[in-house]
Subunit: 172 residues, 2 copies
């Protein structure tokens, strides 16, 4: 019994080691954006700053922030946002709720995109490093590093808000 138990423990240990290696590998396998930006490792654990809904492309979104961004948002320290702030926008296809006729919920993941503030490093794009990974396969967006100008161009209407469309959702 003791020997069997020891073997089981060894097998379980090996299995966990393999699983652990695969997890680490999976995290490392997300290809960086064409401008060299890597996907933030822990963005799925970040706090919510806001949500949004778009009727022009039928999407639902959540905007999360890293701790620096969340703190800045809470304190209204966003003109400009501080260096180190990262905003994540996760975008899903707007899909009917099967149990509530007049509700829509996240369907397929469209992409996760990020704005990363470093006023020196990203000076040519107004201090923001842009990146986006499409779908569950997390394919980097853009053919070359110039894709970031496409992002910035789309953010021009929010120039007065340091190029950020998001405003913090009201919380008590």
């Amino acid at each position: 019994m003791v020997r069997q138990s020891a073997i089981k423990t060894m097998l379980l240990g090996s299995a966990l080691l393999v699983m652990s290696s695969q997890t680490v590998l999976a995290e490392k396998m997300v290809t960086p954006a064409p401008n060299g930006i890597q996907i933030p490792k822990d963005y799925k654990n970040w706090q919510m700053i806001a949500v949004s809904h778009r009727t022009d492309n039928q999407t639902l979104r959540v905007i999360l922030g890293n701790p620096i961004a969340v703190k800045a948002a809470k304190n209204g320290n966003t003109k400009p946002w501080p260096d180190g702030a990262i905003l994540a926008k996760i975008v899903w296809k707007d899909t009917d709720h099967l149990l509530w006729q007049a509700a829509t919920v996240p369907g397929a993941l469209i992409h996760a995109e990020f704005m990363m503030k470093d006023s020196k490093k990203f000076a040519t794009t107004e201090g923001w490093g842009f990146s986006r990974w499409s779908g569950m396969e997390q394919k980097p967006y853009g053919k070359d590093a110039a894709f970031a100008f496409e992002c910035l161009n789309c953010h021009q209407p929010a120039k007065a808000n340091d190029y950020v469309f998001t405003r913090s959702a009201q919380l008590p």
Copy 2:
């Protein structure tokens, strides 16, 4: 100089003490729901499980989970949800984005509501303890403890999902 500095330090200390007391007081001042449930202290720090949009009452929502709920959602351990799981739904008035015509974003906070799983404590309402606080003033919803049956009644269409409408949003 030393004396002035000491006085400044004392004044600063007193100011911080007052601020700290006010923060604690503010947290304690949220009136419990009529069924005795207290608002979870740290729900604003919880992770996102999903978002939703309703066209019948023009609202945008985020659904957050405490660590037990987030883990259960990730593992698909939701039929039933485990004891200790708490889901928070924060609901805002759907409001036009001033800088993007075809987008809506959170306007005024309508309410924050919670489902708290304890299969024994809340056996009369299918194991869920319901609570809701309205507006920025966080006014408890319901005249007496029976309000929870109103909540449960509305959740009947989701009976097969342990009375929970929310499904986890897809993430890579």
